[in-house]
């Protein structure tokens, strides 16, 4: 059988038990760095360093996964041969990482925690990946990062928005550039209160699982603090397709703003059904987080609806423009928000390895922790040491009408709410529940 993605049999033939910390690395020829640091996880590396990218390739978010994978591929190409941000980041050489050419493997998560974990195991055990990255859902990210902590492999989150990823479920081996529900709510307050006034009644429908609950509580907290009055918030079970029964209970004459805390496909259904029932004639609608598959599925229903996005190509600053340009040159299409995250987090990891001078995971973690940077187009940022959550700007957008929408363009940027207006200290909010776990 000659089907394979990556062909270097010799390395895989080496007996090496992933997970057997301290007992691994039997018969491994030691490199210079291997003599400095004890073996841990997939360190020391045999052959070229391999990154593992876990993206949804089947299921409702497969188009988003494809775009992430494009960005990952481009990131590896730039790391190995220069180009894009690599030319500007002083840490990176454009000649591989620590002068070694990077290889990568990719695998499907199907937006399902179980499949994702199985894929991650394959990458860690068979492909000896030194770093994993990817994901399009919080359940997937949490499942993989927990595995990575056990197996002592670095994980760079991609799109995950739940407070828990860097809150209750946070781990030492994972870092998140993406903002969370808490920060989304904070970021929405200034532009939304600015547009709709400071004294409103709001009503929430939220998806009844961790992500939905964290969005709901964050919205209640911050819009409550801004002087709005919460009338009610109703949980909708995950997997609900028809929201009409919930929507018909929204009191039309008293509600000013309706929050639909549903993500992706559920969000597309609840939003279009709300429009169908004419709720937008009596009140304004806000969604916490947009993505492209949702916008496509909701079509014209997103018109004038506020929300946040991971990133958008309309953001006008040098790193953003440079990324859009590079992506467009390479693939002849406009990158999505998760693509920018994928690209940024891969390069951040590589830069940390360069600074550490080794792939030894605990040293790489120490280089990422507490790092201040301003090179991915989200303003001055801090990767916090206490919870591994980036403190950064959050883009707030409004949906475009159906006639204004075009390929890759669904939103207009309203505001880039800066990091100084967002965030929370290390002992409050989600960070208060975070126990990162050991380095080794």
């Amino acid at each position: 059988m000659a089907r394979r993605e990556k062909t270097d049999v010799s390395r895989r033939d080496v007996v090496k038990m992933a997970g057997a910390t301290g007992l691994a690395g039997l018969g491994v020829a030691g490199s210079a760095s291997a003599q400095e640091y004890p073996p841990i996880g997939n360190f020391p590396i045999q052959g070229n360093p391999t990154f593992g990218f876990t993206v949804p390739q089947s299921g409702p978010y497969s188009s988003e996964g494809q775009d992430e994978l494009r960005a990952y591929r481009m990131a590896v190409e730039h790391l190995n041969n220069g180009g894009g941000w690599v030319d500007n980041w002083s840490d990176l050489s454009g000649n591989g990482v620590l002068d070694q050419q990077i290889e990568f493997v990719s695998g499907d998560t199907a937006t399902d925690a179980d499949t994702a974990r199985q894929t991650a195991r394959r990458m860690i055990q068979r492909d000896q990946a030194i770093m994993l990255s990817g994901g399009s859902s919080s359940a997937v990210a949490i499942a993989i990062q927990e595995l990575c902590q056990r197996e002592k492999v670095n994980y760079m989150c991609c799109l995950t928005h739940s407070n828990d990823t860097t809150g209750k479920s946070c781990v030492r081996y994972s870092f998140r550039e993406m903002f969370n529900a808490y920060m989304s709510a904070q970021a929405l307050v200034p532009p939304v209160t600015n547009e709709y006034g400071g004294d409103n009644n709001f009503y929430q429908l939220y998806a009844d699982y961790t992500w939905g609950q964290t969005v709901q509580s964050s919205m209640s907290q911050f819009f409550g603090e801004a002087g709005w009055n919460e009338m009610n918030s109703v949980a909708t079970p995950l997997g609900t397709k028809d929201f009409s029964s919930y929507l018909s209970q929204v009191p039309r004459d008293q509600t000013d703003v309706l929050f639909l805390d549903h993500y992706g496909l559920d969000g597309a259904n609840s939003l279009s059904q709300a429009k169908e029932m004419g709720l937008d004639e009596d009140m304004e609608i806000v969604v916490p987080l947009y993505n492209r598959p949702m916008a496509q599925a909701a079509g014209g229903a997103i018109e004038d609806v506020f929300g946040t996005v991971a990133w958008d190509s309309q953001i006008d600053n040098p790193p953003s423009n440079q990324f859009t340009q590079a992506f467009n040159d390479r693939y002849d299409r406009i990158p999505s928000g998760p693509a920018q995250l994928a690209y940024a987090q891969t390069l951040q990891y590589a830069a940390a390895v360069q600074r550490a001078g080794t792939f030894y995971p605990p040293e790489v973690i120490k280089q990422l922790e507490g790092r201040e940077y301003n090179n991915i187009g989200m303003g001055q940022e801090l990767m916090r040491k206490c919870d591994h959550q980036a403190q950064r700007a959050v883009p707030v957008v409004k949906g475009l009408s159906e006639s204004e929408q075009q390929q890759g363009q669904f939103f207009e940027i309203v505001n880039l709410t800066g990091a100084d207006q967002l965030g929370y200290s290390c002992d409050e909010g989600p960070a208060g529940e975070c126990e990162l776990g050991p380095y080794e």
Binding site: A2, V15, A20, D108, D112, Y209, P237, L238
Partner: protein, 394 residues
């Protein structure tokens, strides 16, 4: 397989009594193969060398692209499919709700490990008992109607379990995020599951595999014993014609319930092992696709044979986890890094091949249902006996 003993023609030259004696005293290959000792010994051997062959052996593992944990997972699903087949293959009852037992056991095992004891053996016992109990209750209700009603009722109960775990019981199950609080202690209080077995790690790998492999061998032995007991005979009679079995005075309903409970128990063993394997219980373990997967595995491998479903599980998981990651389908021996390279430039047959894995499985499944009701195992057996007839026959 063919039931005709493949006697050599020379034997007929002797007197009839001699033939009888040789048959009794020197049992034929077919007979040896049926004996319990042989089944257990062969299974043990296969289970022991499987992870080495699959994940570490030179050349073979390179071609197969396997890895240790997938070998473990194949055994776990193999137990599940084998138990499922005791129902479908031997009594002809098609359940679309076995996720309820697999998932129920997985969650019970997870909760037990966090609340009561983290001993792997006790975890398995707890999960399995929970599954057996649920199988008894659900079987009692579902078996009131046969045929398609049974399939739909089991499907409905499985989905009910899923929605219970998703929302009303999310405070126990963790809802969408799954159950993450699994605690795993040492096997027999001595062996850390994630550590390699000293001296044998090149062969079997970790203690985790030893545990799963050991349970798998026990399960095969148990299933083999059941099938050769009077129970097994009755199950087969029911599959052939349950009315006739009823006329002979058998309480068919009781036997069906028994088969259902036995098969649910096997699902429970597998589900508990899955919790130990992954240290995590995903919500999807209750979803109907899990029931669907075990149906596909059993039918693909071959219902009505002991080992067919295990083969089916191996094929399914192999395609799901290895083939699905293949980006390009190339002709053998083309391109660099082959063992024998004929052409340096790889001849690409299909790009993005891995994405078709589900479709391919679906098509193969349909083909098996239509053309080979005894599955791939049945095909191999037919092939094997044909070869033996050709080679040893004359």
């Amino acid at each position: 397989m063919s039931d005709e003993p493949t006697e050599t023609p020379d034997a007929t030259d002797e007197t009839g009594s001699v033939v009888e004696r040789t048959q009794r005293e020197l049992p034929s290959w077919e007979r040896i193969r049926e004996s319990e000792l042989f089944v257990v010994a062969a299974t043990t051997l296969a289970v022991a060398i499987f992870p080495w062959l699959f994940a570490r052996a030179p050349v073979v593992s390179g071609v197969l692209q396997g890895y240790q944990d997938l070998a473990t997972l194949i055994l776990i699903w193999g137990i599940f499919a084998m138990g499922f087949n005791l129902l479908l293959g031997y009594t002809g009852l098609l359940s679309f709700g076995h996720a309820a037992f697999w998932g129920g056991a997985a969650y019970a095992a997870g909760v037990f490990s966090a609340q009561v004891s983290s001993s792997p053996i006790l975890i398995i016992l707890a999960g399995t008992s929970f599954a057996a109990l649920s199988a008894w209750i659900l079987g009692f209700i579902s078996l009131r109607r046969g045929g398609i009603y049974f399939a739909i009722l089991t499907l409905a109960f499985g989905q009910m379990a899923f929605y219970m775990a998703l929302s009303p019981l999310a405070w126990i199950t963790g809802g969408e995020n799954g159950f993450t609080g699994v605690e795993l202690g040492k096997l027999f209080g001595v062996f850390q599951l994630r550590y390699p077995v000293p001296g044998l790690d090149w062969l079997v790998g970790t203690w985790k595999y030893v545990l799963v492999g050991g349970v798998a061998v026990l399960c095969v032995a148990a299933a083999n014993r059941i099938l050769h007991s009077p129970y097994g005979m009755v199950f087969r009679a029911i599959r052939e014609n349950d009315q006739r079995a009823e006329f002979v005075g058998l309480n068919v309903w009781r036997y069906k319930l028994m088969a259902f409970i036995i098969s649910g128990t096997f699902a429970g063993v597998a589900g508990s092992l899955f919790t130990i394997y992954s240290a995590y219980v995903p919500l999807s373990s209750f979803y109907w696709t899990t029931s669907g997967e075990v149906v596909i595995m059993a039918v693909l491998g071959g219902v009505g044979s002991l080992f067919g479903p295990i083969l089916g599980a191996a094929i399914y998981l192999y395609v799901e986890n290895i083939v699905s990651g293949v980006q390009q389908l190339t002709l053998p021996f083309t391109g660099p890094n082959e063992y024998v390279t004929l052409v340096q430039e790889p001849v690409v047959l299909m790009d993005g091949f891995g994405a078709y894995w589900h479709l391919i499985l679906g098509l193969v499944f349909v083909a098996v249902v239509v053309l080979f009701p005894r599955g791939i195992w049945g095909l191999l057996m037919d092939f094997g006996s044909a070869v033996r007839k050709l080679g040893g026959g004359r």
